[in-house]
């Protein structure tokens, strides 16, 4: 199993955090992982992008082209997400912010209302964790069955009070992916 994922959104949406949480959880599930954030000169804003690969064998190129799955968190990252998506890729879009329909018809699209689900839990900042839950459910790449324990070592102790909401967000994302 190798799951190559391309993640994109705008700076501040937690794209980089989502990628890091994804590979950290994967590493704890015993998988090989690699994560490359496209870094720019911006202090804030701009498009945040990351190449993320999890696999049960050694990973060659860390650069994701022909992605198996693509996460699009904002409307201005839809075009680049579609461009990187491989044949029959799975495209997960944050339907609260991405209103346009993808141009490509050969890919499977899952619309997840990440922002509104996160707001229902109490914090729009965890929209990225909603998406991570949906990504795990839709791809089957990660089980996330030990995610509660994984979060305890992923987040520094000063942030542990936020873990319950993050867990709810992951669960909400999984449910949304099942129902989508």
């Amino acid at each position: 199993m190798t799951e190559k994922t391309f993640m994109a959104g705008f700076g501040g949406q937690g794209i980089i955090s989502m990628g890091q949480a994804w590979i950290y959880a994967a590493m704890k599930e015993g998988l090989e992982v690699t994560f490359f954030p496209f870094y720019g000169a911006e202090k804030r804003g701009g498009v945040a992008r990351a190449s993320v690969i999890v696999s049960d064998h050694e990973i060659a190129s860390p650069l994701v082209t022909k992605a198996h799955s693509v996460v699009v968190m904002s409307s201005d990252s839809l075009a680049i997400g579609e461009a990187v998506a491989g044949p029959k890729a799975l495209l997960l879009v944050n339907s609260d912010l991405v209103k346009a329909s993808p141009a490509r018809s050969d890919i499977r699209v899952l619309r997840i209302p990440c922002n509104s689900l996160a707001e229902k839990i109490g914090d729009v900042k965890i929209a990225n964790m909603v998406m991570m839950g949906a990504l795990a459910e839709a791809t089957g790449a990660l089980k996330l069955d030990t995610i509660a324990k994984v979060f305890e070592s992923f987040f520094p102790p000063s942030k542990h009070s936020f873990i319950p909401k993050n867990l709810q967000a992951v669960e909400a994302g999984r449910r949304a992916a099942r129902e989508a």
Binding site: A60, P62, T65
Partner: protein, 388 residues
């Protein structure tokens, strides 16, 4: 087995250095290596180790000179334009036979260039980037694990051979995160003695030492450089490292280091899925370069495709290796595929370039701009196969 931790390449270089016993770090921030000094600042100061954010790269490398002369395991890091600034100091360190570790997390050039990954500093790193006759060891990590392991080892190699050792990474290796098993930390008391170092002579009773690269007596200077080159010969005989994969089965061997070797590995897997056997040869030491290994492949009539994030630099070492084999260049042709300016080659375009070579659609790489098969000076740049 110790637990895997998730780290950036830059952080793994820093932690590898600390575990090797680096007690003095001097640096200056520059993208894409700034996490390295940031990590050092965070972890060295609480341990009362020496961390200085210097006023410039030039100051930092000269502080390394001072700390290394005093016997410390000293280190600096930067990215391409910053490493250019350090070249005078690196020449002095080599001339004074001082061990240290220098990290270059390459970005695109020339000049200020861009901040994205590149491999355009190969010539500078492997040919003695400053003035005078010298070399130093150059190690090229391909992943976060090797960032930690090779940096850890770099300090030992530097002490063993009394010379700077450079870690030549690039922006992708520095910025990417992977799982890494860290080497156990060195006990400082176990590090080799440095009886040549300056300072500390107060209570030891040993004579004063003098560390310098200057010598105004031509015969003496000539002898010291000759002696150093004897050491280089010994290094070339004992420290060359490379990894070859599937090279016996394949007619065409992809050659790359660092990020390019990872991409080439991806192209090799894609080829395999199409029933095409490709080999992969990855030099881990860029100086000394594994010429003998290349020559051995050439003697077997293998073809080469060098993959680099540059206009073609390591490819010249591959051509030298083929030249040492005694077979003609036509019997073991060396091709080149490169992307640059911050562009990273992808596995599809490397595979396409490999297919071009196998189908005879691309011309071998020639050193210089004259395509000798067409006569001198014509078709400037036509030797740059782009795999189209």
């Amino acid at each position: 087995m110790p637990e895997k931790v998730l780290m950036k390449g830059n952080e793994a270089i820093a932690e590898g250095a600390l575990r090797a016993g680096c007690t003095a770090y001097f640096g200056y921030p520059i993208t894409p290596q700034s996490e390295l000094p940031a990590y050092m600042a965070k972890h060295m100061l609480p341990r009362h180790l020496t961390f200085v954010q210097a006023e410039s790269e030039v100051a930092a490398i000269n502080m390394v000179y001072g700390a290394a002369a005093a016997g410390a395991r000293a280190m600096t890091s930067s990215s391409s334009p910053g490493v250019s600034l350090k070249q005078e100091g690196i020449s002095y360190l080599c001339g004074a036979d001082l061990p240290c570790v220098i990290v270059n997390v390459q970005r695109s050039g020339p000049g200020l260039g861009g901040i994205s990954p590149a491999q355009g500093d190969y010539f500078q790193a492997t040919r003695g980037g400053g003035h005078g006759d010298y070399y130093h060891i150059v190690l090229a990590p391909k992943d976060v694990q090797e960032c930690a392991d090779l940096t850890f080892e770099a300090f030992d190699l530097a002490d063993k051979w009394r010379m700077p050792v450079m870690i030549l990474a690039d922006g992708l290796i520095g910025q990417m995160m992977e799982g890494v098993v860290l080497p156990p930390a060195r006990d400082l008391a176990s590090l080799p003695a440095k009886p040549w170092a300056v300072g500390h002579q107060g209570k030891s009773g040993r004579p004063f030492n003098h560390v310098s690269s200057i010598n105004l007596v031509p015969d003496e200077l000539e002898k010291s450089v000759n002696d150093r080159f004897e050491r280089y010969k010994a290094i070339a005989e004992s420290e060359v490292r490379s990894v070859s994969t599937n090279c016996d089965k394949a007619d065409l061997i992809l050659v790359g280091y660092g990020t390019s070797s990872r991409v080439a590995g991806g192209a090799m897997a894609l080829a395999k899925a199409e029933g095409i056997e490709l080999g992969l040869f990855r030099p881990t030491t860029l100086w000394p370069f594994p010429y003998a290994e290349i020559a051995e492949f050439a003697a077997k009539g293998k073809k080469f495709l060098c993959v680099e994030m540059s206009m073609g630099q390591m490819v010249e070492d591959v051509l030298l290796g083929v030249g040492m084999s005694g077979v003609s260049g036509d019997a073991a042709p060396v091709h080149f595929f490169g992307r640059l300016g911050g562009n990273i080659p992808n596995e599809d375009e490397v595979l396409a370039a490999a297919k071009d070579v196998l189908a005879g659609r691309s011309k071998p790489h020639r050193i210089g701009f004259a395509d000798r098969s067409l006569g001198s000076g014509r078709n400037l740049g036509s030797n740059r196969s782009r795999g189209q």
